[in-house]
Symmetry: C2
C-alpha cells in the first residue's frame, strides 16, 4: 500500500536527488570541456559516468506520477528545467503539460517543436486539449483541429469559445448516459459491458433519446437499491445543473454549498453537453486564491518563480508605475506645505506616521469588504450598517492611537499644540480611511471590476495624500 507519508518524503527526496544528479552532470560537462582543451585523454571515462547519470535521472523521472514530475519542473530554474524536460519520455509530455502552472507550461512549450507538440496533444482528451490549446502556437492548434474527428473538433471549438472563467471552458466530456425506462439490473449489465468508467464518476446521467437530461443516478444508489426497480424510480430529478455560460466561481460556490462531486452541464434546451468535476473546481479555487493574493501585490499570475529577470520586470512595472504616480501626488501635497516644514521641521518626521497608520487601517477595512463581496455577503441592504460600523471602529482607533502618538510627539518635541494636531490628524485620517476603505471596493464591484485588483493602491493613494494634507494643513493653521 502506497503510504502517503512515504510519497511526500520521496517527492522532496526526488527533487533533491534530481538536483544532485544535474549538478554532478554539470560538473562532468565542465570537466569534459576543460579536458578537451587539455587534450581528450579521459573523455571516454567521463562520458560513461555522464551516461550513467542520465540513465539514473531518466529512471527516477519514469517512476514519478505526472503531477510529481510537474512539481519538480516547477521547482527548477529554467536551464535545469528544460534539461529535465528533454529527458522525460515523450509519451508523458501531454499529461505533464496539463499539470504544470501556466507560466512554466509556456517555457516548456517554447522548447518544443511542432511535431513534439502534436504528439503530446494526441495523448489527451478533448477537454484536456481545451486547457492546453490557448498556450499552443496557432499553426499547431490548426493542425491539431484538422487531425480530430468531427465530434471532438466541435467539442474543442465550443470549449475554446467560452471565456476562461466560465463553466463551458472548464467542463469535460467524460459522460456516461443511460435511459430512464430500464431497470437497475439492465443498467448494471450495460455498465459491465462498457467495462470502465471515467475518473470521478459518482453518478450516471439519465437522458432521453434526444439527449435531454431527465435526472441523475448516483452510483451509490445503483449499488444499494433493488435490482428490479426502474432507473426512473431511483434517479434524482432535482440535481444541481450548470450551463456552459455560468461563471466558474459561482459553480465553485455551488460545489461547496451542495457538496458535489460531479454535475451535469446542459444547454438552454436542457440537452446534456458535458459535466463538471470536483477536481476541476478545486483547481479553480486554488488558482483564484493564488491570483487574488498575487493581484493584491500587483503581480499577474503569469510569472513563475524562475521567470527571467526581464519577464519579471515587465510583469511588475505597471504596478510600480501606478505607485510612482500616487507617490508623486503625495509628494506634491507635501510640497504645498514646504514653508511650514521649514518653520517646524518636526512635521517632516511625524507626517509619515499619520499617512502610514491610515493606510494600514484602511487596508484592514478594504480586505474585510473585498472578502465580504467575494462571499456574496454584501449588497445594497446592508451597506449602511457596514459604513456605520467601520466609522465607529475608526473613531475609536483614531482617538486611542492618536492620543498615544500625541503623547509621544509631546515627549519628543515638548510642543502641546503639535501633539493635539497629531491626535486630531490621526483621527481624521482613520475616518477618511474607513470611508474610502468601504467605498472603493463596493464601487469597483458595482462597475463590474474585480475589487481585489487595485483597491489597495487606490486606498493607499487616498490615505497618503489625505494624511499629509490633513496633518500639514492643521499644523499650518495652528502652528505657523
Amino acid at each position: 500500500m502506497a503510504e502517503y507519508q512515504e510519497n511526500k518524503e520521496s517527492l522532496q527526496e526526488s527533487l533533491q536527488l534530481i538536483v544532485e544528479l544535474l549538478d554532478k552532470h554539470e560538473l562532468v560537462e565542465n570537466l569534459v570541456h576543460k579536458q578537451e582543451q587539455d587534450g581528450p585523454k579521459q573523455e571516454l571515462v567521463e562520458s560513461i559516468v555522464h551516461r550513467q547519470n542520465i540513465a539514473l535521472l531518466q529512471k527516477k523521472l519514469e517512476s514519478l506520477h505526472p503531477a510529481d514530475v510537474a512539481y519538480i519542473l516547477e521547482a527548477l530554474p529554467l536551464e535545469k528545467r528544460l534539461y529535465v524536460w528533454d529527458l522525460v519520455k515523450a509519451d508523458r509530455d501531454g499529461e505533464i503539460l496539463l499539470e504544470v502552472s501556466d507560466a512554466v507550461r509556456q517555457t516548456l512549450i517554447a522548447d518544443m517543436d511542432s511535431d513534439e507538440l502534436l504528439a503530446a496533444a494526441e495523448q489527451l482528451d478533448t477537454d484536456e486539449l481545451a486547457d492546453l490549446a490557448p498556450d499552443l502556437p496557432k499553426d499547431v492548434l490548426q493542425e491539431l483541429l484538422d487531425s480530430l474527428d468531427t465530434q471532438n473538433r466541435e467539442r474543442l471549438q465550443s470549449a475554446l469559445s467560452y471565456p476562461e472563467d466560465t463553466v463551458g471552458a472548464r467542463m469535460d466530456f467524460d459522460i456516461v448516459t443511460i435511459r430512464e425506462d430500464i431497470s437497475l439490473e439492465v443498467a448494471l449489465r450495460y455498465l459491465r459491458r462498457i467495462g470502465q468508467l471515467p475518473d470521478h464518476t459518482d453518478k450516471l446521467f439519465v437522458v432521453d433519446r434526444h439527449d435531454i437530461l431527465r435526472g441523475v443516478l448516483p452510483l451509490k444508489r445503483l449499488v444499494v437499491k433493488d435490482l428490479e426497480l426502474g432507473v426512473k424510480d431511483v434517479m434524482a430529478d432535482d440535481a444541481v445543473v450548470f450551463h456552459p455560460e455560468d461563471m466558474a466561481d459561482e459553480a465553485a460556490k455551488a460545489f461547496e454549498r451542495y457538496d458535489l462531486v460531479t454535475a451535469p452541464v446542459v444547454d438552454e434546451n436542457n440537452k446534456l453537453v458535458g459535466r463538471l468535476t470536483v477536481d476541476t473546481v478545486m483547481d479553480y479555487i486554488r488558482e483564484e486564491a493564488e491570483s487574488d493574493m498575487l493581484s493584491l501585490a500587483g503581480l499577474r499570475e503569469e510569472e513563475d518563480l524562475f521567470s527571467s529577470v526581464w519577464t519579471s520586470v515587465q510583469n511588475r512595472w505597471t504596478w510600480l508605475a501606478i505607485n510612482l504616480v500616487t507617490a508623486l501626488v503625495a509628494s506634491r501635497v507635501i510640497g504645498l506645505f514646504e514653508g511650514s516644514i521649514e518653520k517646524v521641521v518636526a512635521l517632516a518626521a511625524l507626517m509619515p506616521i499619520v499617512a502610514g497608520i491610515g493606510g494600514n487601517s484602511g487596508n484592514q477595512t478594504t480586505t474585510m469588504i473585498v472578502r465580504g463581496i467575494a462571499l456574496g455577503q454584501i449588497s445594497g441592504v446592508n451597506m449602511q450598517s457596514l459604513i456605520k460600523k467601520e466609522i465607529g471602529v475608526s473613531i475609536i482607533n483614531g482617538l486611542i492611537w492618536g492620543s498615544v502618538l500625541g503623547l509621544i510627539a509631546y515627549s519628543l518635541y515638548g510642543n502641546t499644540i503639535l501633539s493635539v494636531v497629531m491626535t486630531a490628524a490621526m483621527t481624521l485620517n482613520l475616518l477618511l480611511a474607513a470611508i474610502v476603505g468601504v467605498t472603493i471596493p463596493i464601487v469597483m464591484s458595482k462597475f463590474g471590476r474585480d475589487p481585489a485588483v487595485g483597491s489597495s493602491v487606490l486606498l493607499t493613494a487616498m490615505t497618503d495624500s489625505g494624511g499629509f494634507f490633513i496633518f500639514l494643513g492643521l499644523a499650518t493653521i495652528f502652528l505657523t
Copy 2:
C-alpha cells in the same frame, strides 16, 4: 430539475425578501409601540399583520437549504441575524451551525441556552460534532460527551485531541468496509442489505478481521467488473492513505495532485480509523486562502462583517500597534536628519517616494516567495537562483524608476545633485527590498512560522526606515 441559475437568483432574492420582511416587521413594532402611547386602538390589527409577516418569514426560511440559511445569517447585521435565527426551526439548528463561519457561529451560540445547544448537537454525526465542539460552552460539551455511547464518545474525544490543522481533526467516520475474500456479487448483496451509503462514498474500504486496511474498492469498479471476481482481484492496493497526525494542507495537496474524492485514514498499525472526503478538503482550501488573505492585512479570521465595533477594535489593534512602532522607528530615522531637511526642505517632499516604492517592490518579491513556499517549490537547492533573480530585477527597476524620479526631481527643484541622489537612493532601496523580501519569508518558514503572517509588516518596516536612511544619508553627504 432544480436549475442552478434559479437557485442562485432565488438566494439573492431570498435575502432581499427576508430583509424587507424584517424591515416591515420593525415598522409594525414601532407603530404598535407608538400607538401604545396614544392608546391601544389599532393594536389588534397591527398584531395580525405582524403575525402574518412572521409566518411568511418562517415559510421562506423553511424552503431554504441549510447552507443557504447560513448564507443569509452571515449577510445580516447582528440584531436581525438573531431575530431570524430564533425563527429557524429548532430541528435544523445543528446543520446550520455547521455551515456558518466561525465568527457568526459564535454569535449564534451565544444566543442559545444549554438545552437548545444540546438539542442541536444531537442532530449531528460524531465528525460534525467535532467541528462544532470547540465553540460550545464547557458544561454543554461535557453533557454532550456523557450522552454519547462509548464508540462515539471515543471518536469525538480522539477527533478533539488532534490540532485543528491535522487530518485527525478533519476526518469523518462514515466508512463502509468489506472483506477481501468475498466475490463482487456477495459484496453487492451486502450493500443492498445496508440500503444506503454515506455521502461522497466513491469507494469501499477493504479490511481484514482486525480492521487492518488491505485496499480500496472503487464503486466504479464494482459496477463494471464481472460479478464472479473476488474483491481481492478487483480492489486497488496502492491507494493513497493518510494518518490522523498528517497536516491538513499536505493532505489537501495530495487530494489535488491525485484527484481524490475520499481516502482512508489509518493509524500506525494500518488499522482503519476514519476517512477524509473532498468536501472537507475543499472547505479547508477555502478557509486557508481566506485566512492567508486576512492575515496579510493583519486580521484574524474571527471577525465577521458585522462584528460589533468593539470586537473589531480588539481584532485589529495588534497590527496597528506593530505598525505604530515601525512607523515611529522610521520617524526617528527622519529625526536624525532634521538638520538636513531644514536646509533642503525638498527632501521632506521626496523621501516618502523612495520609501513607498521600496515597500511596494519588496512586497511583490515577498508575495512570490510566500506563494512558492506554500506550493513547496522553494528549498535549499534553489534559493541562490531566487536571490540572484530578484537582485537583477531590483537593479533594473531601480535604475529605470530611479532615473524617471531623478528627472522629475530635477524638473521640480532644478538641482542636479538632488536628482542623482534620488536615483541612487531608489536603486539602493529597491536592492534592499529585494534581499529582505526574499530573506524574511524564507527565514520565517525555516523557524516554523507561517510566512504569510507578518512578512509584509517586517518588510515595510525595513524598506521605510531603510529608504529614509539611504535617501537622507546620501543627501546629507552630498548636499549639505
